[in-house]
């Protein structure tokens, strides 16, 4: 392939990536956008085998190894993406991001080994940058995966001397980076990689469960920048464009997500260092709550004029989307006004709940976004909270210093009656007690969301 043809094809792939991001920003074109991105990646991967570098065509000595490795990656990646449950998708994205960061770091380590004495300062800097940031992205993403999969605590982990530790770690990373750049050597580079991996862990540990999506988005942007830096060292323009696009759009997206959650980006990332680990008020102490039977709930719903369903992650875990829709249909048939109040971060990530309810064919017009539904709670007879907690917790407004303080919430406390379907009194993902559970107008129905809803549905039918 001639150099011009190669560059032209590379340019086409870059344009496809831009169109992909553009398409993904609007609901109508999102799926096509994703397909264009995949096409771009396919083109880029094919043409690299015909790469006409300065030293002639790409040597194909290791072709068997390369194709074998791609096959292994496909065999792992495709079934993983196909079989993951929609509820577990956020951690899947975190994991994919992590392996991308790991790949970038490995590429940079090989580049570093190959760098000769004649390498320019910029090339050495870009290589070391990729090793550091790629490793941070890798280990940080693994920790976010463990948090979202609930393999470890979702609460902020505050280590003793955590702040000192992380600054010492950062200083060590910078120091060793300088050493690695001034005299090329493989063992200091491995020390640097180890320190960077540690930094990724320390960086994510203090972040609370509810803020984890913001961190995934940030690490995603980081990985993009490492890809751009690798592109600079390898003189592969396409990698520069693709990596920078992801880095820039990822940064914007991180900010938008933080805004949707009412969090300052800085506060999210560094808040845990400045604030003390905060215990919920009255944790462990027994306080009276009003729990009801499915029949009580059915009666409350049956005589309501307006019901707002607030779905949360608990609904998704119980796979109760279909049952909740059945109940909503029954209520609509009785002439009751039914709407779903969707918090922007209901579920585990912004937009996650929309994906889950769409899966259950809930009519689009019943899904009402937070800004629109909030003014209507005062005229709502029953707010039915299904497996949600943090997104309706008034502590976000009333308790400065609590981990979700400042996050916009659904104002269910303004409605005449509140029903919580919950598995237990356990606090939500952010680990904070919800005062609303003890409110006199609140009724609790304990149990798995799907089982509870099924009982409510049959009680409604017999009324």
């Amino acid at each position: 392939m001639s150099r011009n043809l190669y560059d032209l094809m590379g340019l086409a792939a870059a344009v496809l990536f831009i169109l992909a991001l553009k398409g993904l920003s609007s609901p109508k074109s999102a799926r096509r956008g994703n397909a264009l991105g995949a096409l771009g990646a396919f083109v880029a991967t094919i043409i690299v085998f015909f790469y006409p570098g300065e030293k002639g065509e790409l040597p194909l000595d290791n072709l068997g190894w390369i194709l074998g490795a791609i096959a292994i990656g496909v065999v792992i990646g495709v079934p993983a993406a196909r079989m993951v449950k929609m509820t577990q998708m956020p951690q899947m994205v975190a994991l994919f991001n992590g392996v991308g960061g790991g790949a970038a770091a490995l590429v940079a380590i090989v580049e570093y080994i190959k760098l000769g004495e004649s390498a320019s300062f910029a090339a050495v800097l870009a290589t070391v940058f990729t090793v550091v940031v790629g490793c941070i992205s890798f280990s940080g993403s693994i920790v976010t995966f463990l948090k979202l999969q609930e393999l470890m605590t979702t609460r902020p982990v505050i280590l003793p001397f955590g702040r000192t530790l992380i600054f010492a770690n950062l200083a060590a990373v910078i120091g060793v980076s300088g050493w690695v750049m001034s005299e090329l050597g493989t063992s200091p580079l491995l020390i640097l990689a180890g320190l960077s991996l540690l930094f990724g862990v320390l960086f994510v540990l203090p972040v609370g469960g509810a803020d984890v999506p913001i961190v995934i988005s940030l690490l995603n942007a980081f990985t993009g920048l490492t890809v751009a830096a690798s592109g600079y060292v390898l003189e592969a323009t396409l990698l520069i464009v693709a990596g920078t696009l992801v880095g820039a759009s990822g940064t914007i997206l991180t900010r938008l997500m933080a805004e949707a959650m009412g969090r300052s980006l800085f506060g999210t990332l560094f808040g845990a260092f400045t604030q003390k680990a905060q215990d919920a008020t009255g944790t462990g102490e027994e306080r009276p709550v009003k729990s009801g039977s499915p029949e009580d709930v059915a009666i409350l719903l049956n005589y309501a004029r307006r019901v707002v369903i607030v779905p949360g992650f608990g609904l998704a875990v119980a796979q109760a989307q279909h049952t909740v829709r059945e109940m909503a249909d029954l209520l609509s048939a009785k002439g009751i006004d039914v709407a779903y109040g969707i918090h922007p971060v209901a579920g585990r990530m912004p937009g996650h709940m929309n994906v889950l309810l769409a899966e259950a064919n809930v009519p689009y017009e019943q899904l009402v976004e937070m800004e629109e539904v909030n003014p209507t709670f005062a005229q709502t007879d029953v707010a039915l909270v299904v497996g949600a907690n943090d997104v309706v917790n008034p502590a976000a407004k009333t308790t400065p210093g609590c981990p979700i303080y400042g996050m916009p919430i659904l104002d269910v406390q303004q409605s005449a009656n509140i029903i919580f379907l919950k598995r237990s009194m356990r606090p939500g993902f952010a680990g904070i007690e919800n005062e609303l559970l003890y409110d006199p107008k609140t009724t609790l129905l304990f149990g798995d969301a799907k089982a509870s809803l099924t009982k409510v549905v049959s009680a409604l039918k017999s009324l």
Binding site: G77, A80, N97, V99, S249
Partner: protein, 95 residues
Amino acid sequence: MSEAMALLAIFTLAIFVGFEVVSKVSSTLHTPLMSGANAIHGIILVGAIIVASHSHTSLELGLSIAAIILATINVVGGFVVTDRMLEMFKGKKKS
């Protein structure tokens, strides 16, 4: 313009394009957009293939083969999972 300056120009322009294309996106699409962007950076696969082809020692080859496997998981898995998310949005519109 020197090669390095040309690359710097590309980098700078790409930053602005990246900012521009996603500046107005509804919160509904945050998750798929993040996932799609995540798949795009899997294109580090291209870099991994380049370094693997120039690998002479078994250490270099081993590291770059590992990089290829990880990058392939990122790019292929990323696009597939994004498509699965968006498939659901399509179903919603029909009903």
